[in-house]
Symmetry: C2
Subunit: 333 residues, 2 copies
Amino acid sequence: MARERRRRTTIVDVADEAGVAASTVSRSFTNPSRVNAATREHVLAVAERLGYTPNAAARALESGRTNTVALVLPDITNPYFFGLIKGAERAAAAAGQTLVIGDTEENPAAEARVVRTLGPAVDGFVICSSRLPDADLVAAAQHDPLTLVNRQVTGLDSVVSDYQAGTRQIVDHLASLGHQGFVFLGGPPESWSGARRWRGLQAAARARGMTATRHGPYQPTLGGGVAAADSALASGATALVAHNDLLAIGVLGRLRERGVPVPGRVSVVGFDDIFGSEFCAPPLTTLAERVREAGGRAVESLLMQMQRRDSQPARLVLPTQLLVRASTGPPPP
Amino acid sequence: MARERRRRTTIVDVADEAGVAASTVSRSFTNPSRVNAATREHVLAVAERLGYTPNAAARALESGRTNTVALVLPDITNPYFFGLIKGAERAAAAAGQTLVIGDTEENPAAEARVVRTLGPAVDGFVICSSRLPDADLVAAAQHDPLTLVNRQVTGLDSVVSDYQAGTRQIVDHLASLGHQGFVFLGGPPESWSGARRWRGLQAAARARGMTATRHGPYQPTLGGGVAAADSALASGATALVAHNDLLAIGVLGRLRERGVPVPGRVSVVGFDDIFGSEFCAPPLTTLAERVREAGGRAVESLLMQMQRRDSQPARLVLPTQLLVRASTGPPPP
DNA sequence: ATGAAAGCGCTAACAG
DNA sequence: CTGTTAGCGCTTTCAT
């Protein structure tokens, strides 16, 4: 069965059919104010009738603007990023931009490659949880507008969560329940946000006179929860704060497996409020970030940056919110 | 603080620096066989030194190929699509293609718009769970290569799951536990896969001499589970098969809220094996689809289709697998 | 094997 | 307000 493909309608086809010059058609689309309203209406009608769609590649070639922004992140399937992606996608769509997503597989080399190859094809980058050294990020920003999420680098735009306040909320919560200390189940050592979380927890614990011990690093996955739970249990801790919800849910699973009551014997706190943390067993107490907003704001900041070039870098810090669910309670007597 | 941007290196820069013509540089990249090996090596070295990256837009303009494929789906944040996205992304990357994702917000008009505007910018489409009528899909395929996921239309490439076998597995499982019938909690009436699922369940039930009743339609979300659970409970059913896991998990939540033991009083089965279905309470028995493979195969089928144009449409049917977890058991005595 | 030249579809001066 | 004229960076004949 033959599937033929029609040649796509170009601006010239529309111009001929409408009896005007190609540039008038172009202006009718991109610069409506500089064309007679009646002419424009006619052109648009003809374009519509012919099924004309501007060719993005051609437009990009001339104007240099691709109307495409790239969202680069370590792993699309990590539920932490879902909201981020959606937020970025919405913001991009609202601004008439196409969003391409680059998955770096948690790999710095792949990340560098993605940024390099996508460079000429996009107007700018939103890079999340980058694994690249500061210098590389600064260098990349030389070529293309750039906004970081979950990372701050001097001179670059960024959107991060307020871990200082957030970790204090967690520690206050545990303290108010009567816990004397907690174990932090650490994630990857290179994780920028992991470091911030731990630092915040330490500071808040110190201020409260609580003990804070770090275990790990563990894989920030469900599977990582097994070792993390066992280690924490052996330490006799009454409260566990996990690097993220994925790990926390894994910990919960392991504890159930070992018949350890939560929160009767240990309380568990996570970070992120990912999909699933409300219906795992027991529902997880966690520090929610405004990930969706972060994604949206990052794109907006990027677009803004493209408008007025030389300005102060925008550093956004988003508030966090502690969701107290069923995985935390008083320590055992 | 001024952030300057360097002009990007072009093919001409490389040509000048290497002392050859631009066309030779071009050939060195895209047609290695038609250039002297030594020249090519030299050109490549110079390109590397200058940090040259081909401009995709310019390349697309001339060649017509954009090396970009679009993945169009109703909702990026729906966990059902995570694996699909990842699979598609991997397959695209492996083939040197960029993947852009179009979110249609479950909206046929938005879907049509996405397909139309993305058309000239991509080499082809993978459209998942399309809400568009067959005719529109066929029309779209006139312009661009197209592969459908979760949908079959005569003459078009498609990748779907084997619901016939899958639903039989579900029904056999329930029968083997001693259930005499079940209630199907339906999703959106327009859902192609929902219709297939129900049809398969009915057929399998008939073959087994079981009763199958459809309730709904319900929103295929966690929230939809409230009404679905209440309605099913009122009917006195001993087993519920939900339109998808999202709904099933919502049902589980509602049942717990009402103090109904699962599977003691009712068994619950879902579809999809989404993230979370293994750690909800109780872990969900569900029919797993090979979503990741589906995404990958769809992209591959698309790429294949772009090579040899007029051929038989490829219709792929992927096997499913019943994951028996803790939400199903014998009916109450 | 390589170079010169002609566009791809569109936008952006520059005239008129 | 609109048409003409150059290209954007690259690929692709067509010569050499």
